[in-house]
Subunit: 331 residues, 2 copies
């Protein structure tokens, strides 16, 4: 564990614009490093209203190219951008999927653009608690944060909860919109981008999307705007501002309906819940020197107890350990 | 909440072969009904060594047809079969994806075959605690349990942990095996079935698979067997026993290496952890009449505290409430 002064210095360096410091902070929160809590604490005075944009969609639709275009538009306004590429790959073989970062390389020499890949997977299959922590680091350091995910599926639904505005990118020939709608994964979109709009099949795709939009389904409980649809050909540089304009439009809508704070609170609530649950998992696993959980699982398998009774036993043991300050994981 | 005697009667009816009773039990555990704990308790004396088979793979490869074939083979041995079709759809639009149950209709008149669809999604994106509970109900009631999932992705990785043997079904033209391998989702396979093996592209698929198998990656930490690959044309009834033979083969391997008990214990451990975490989530959400969590999230968003400090506060409040018997959710 780094001494506290080092962490404070690192945070100040990162907020001040040092890419190396940002990178170090992300390593600490991504690896669930013992200093993650100190990083979180040191970030507190730097909390500010940063726009968080989510970009998701099936592989092959051109998300990276589009993100790169968007980064260029934001940079041309003089704003600094942090990009988090979230890889939903298996916890068993961390981080192998991302190979498509090459198109983002045009920004490699720009010190005001920061790009980093992280793994999305936590224990028990949920979203890793380190993803919202990474977003919090970037929020403190940049004017705009882009969270790009690989693929479109359940992990992406969770990640969308972290964004103010979520863009779902589609393209003719990449995935069945009707199936995606049925699976509920288009409800995360605030904005659809139909990319590769110069290709065959774009009319069918737009027609299907129109039907999806007319359903009016959205994953947020509060007020939401009808999902807008824009078309792009991301390989044509002239398209550069189309997406940014649409994002500005949505940001203005959020502001007008006083929802920007609500989005930040939702992000914080998700972050808080994931950290709490992660901490509970660590406590449960460590109880009785790591022997209580396997012993109870064995009793369930043998038909000596049931999962609910065993869960109550585990929770009581944890509460007693924590209340007596005897928490195996520290206070 | 049903009186305890009713639950005991229901469990005895289900174990005795009444489909209606099985169905009622699954409704109770799927909906996280207050009587779920009583069902779990009433199942304890009926714990037994039931084979649990997982079947997963991309949409369109013929999983339902193959499952239906497998059910027929198992039935021809006189064994009773319970099928759980797990739908990883969004928690916002529960259970819309499954429409492909039609092929399973051939078993509709067979009282020894039970088929039920459940939703896979829990809170915070993880596997729902009700999935392992549903498996536990079917384990008590049938000789063989099949857990079929829709799609292939992260939810399927989690569900694979519930099975003794996991079958990944592939077909020429349905998904890129190399990409799936990179994403780590082929590591769940104990057995690959290449279905639609009469189609173009089967040789390429088998070659890619051979390479995947040679990597020797598997999601289980313990000993594992090299993944076997079989080919089928599930629409041809003659194929009926191919898959069952391969499954018997893997079951024999598990037995020989004394792993069947280990699988049951792993299943119980996952079930226990999911229930415990679910219970913790309910407790956290209910603290201070439901006001503590949102208040802390607001403080984080305002830059008054950080997620780790807030999590410690939440956990202390929960431990105190539980230790004093003042748990908002009951003991």
């Amino acid at each position: 564990v780094k001494p506290r002064e080092d962490i404070t210095e690192l945070v100040e360096g990162a907020v001040g614009g040092t890419a190396r410091a940002v990178s170090k902070l992300l390593t600490i929160v991504d690896d669930d490093h013992p200093a993650a809590a100190e990083v979180a604490e040191a970030l507190t005075p730097h909390a500010r209203a940063t726009a968080v944009i989510g970009i998701t969609g099936p592989p092959g639709v051109g998300k990276s190219t589009l993100t790169s275009l968007l980064v260029r538009s934001i940079r041309s306004r003089g704003q600094r951008v942090g990009v988090l590429a979230v890889d939903p790959s298996s916890p068993f073989s961390r981080g192998a999927l991302l190979g498509d970062r090459v198109r983002m390389m045009e920004h490699a020499g720009d010190s005001e653009v920061f790009i980093r890949s992280v793994s999305a997977r936590g224990h028990l299959g949920g979203l890793s608690s380190s993803v919202p922590q990474s977003v919090r680091v970037l929020e403190a350091c940049f004017d705009v944060v882009i969270v790009e995910t690989v693929g479109v599926g359940q992990s992406e639904v969770d990640i969308a909860k972290l964004a103010d505005t979520t863009v779902v990118v589609l393209a003719p020939g990449y995935g069945d919109v009707v199936q995606m709608a049925k699976a509920g994964i288009l409800e995360v979109a605030d904005l659809f981008v139909v990319n590769k709009a110069d290709r065959d099949g774009v009319d069918d795709l737009l027609r299907d999307l129109k039907r999806v939009v007319s359903l009016g389904r959205h994953h947020r409980a509060g007020p939401h705007r009808a999902q807008h649809v824009i078309t792009t050909v991301a390989t044509q540089r002239a398209e550069s501002s189309t997406l940014l304009d649409a994002l500005d439009d949505h940001a203005a809508w959020l502001k007008q309906h006083d929802l920007l704070t609500a989005r930040r609170v939702e992000r914080a609530a998700l972050s808080l819940q994931l950290i709490t649950v992660r901490r509970v998992q660590a406590e449960l696993t460590a109880l009785a020197g790591g022997r209580l959980l396997p012993a109870l699982a064995e009793q369930i398998a043998k038909g000596e107890t049931d999962p609910y009774r065993a869960a109550a036993h585990l929770l009581n043991a944890m509460s007693r350990a924590m209340a007596s300050g005897d928490s195996p994981c520290g206070a």
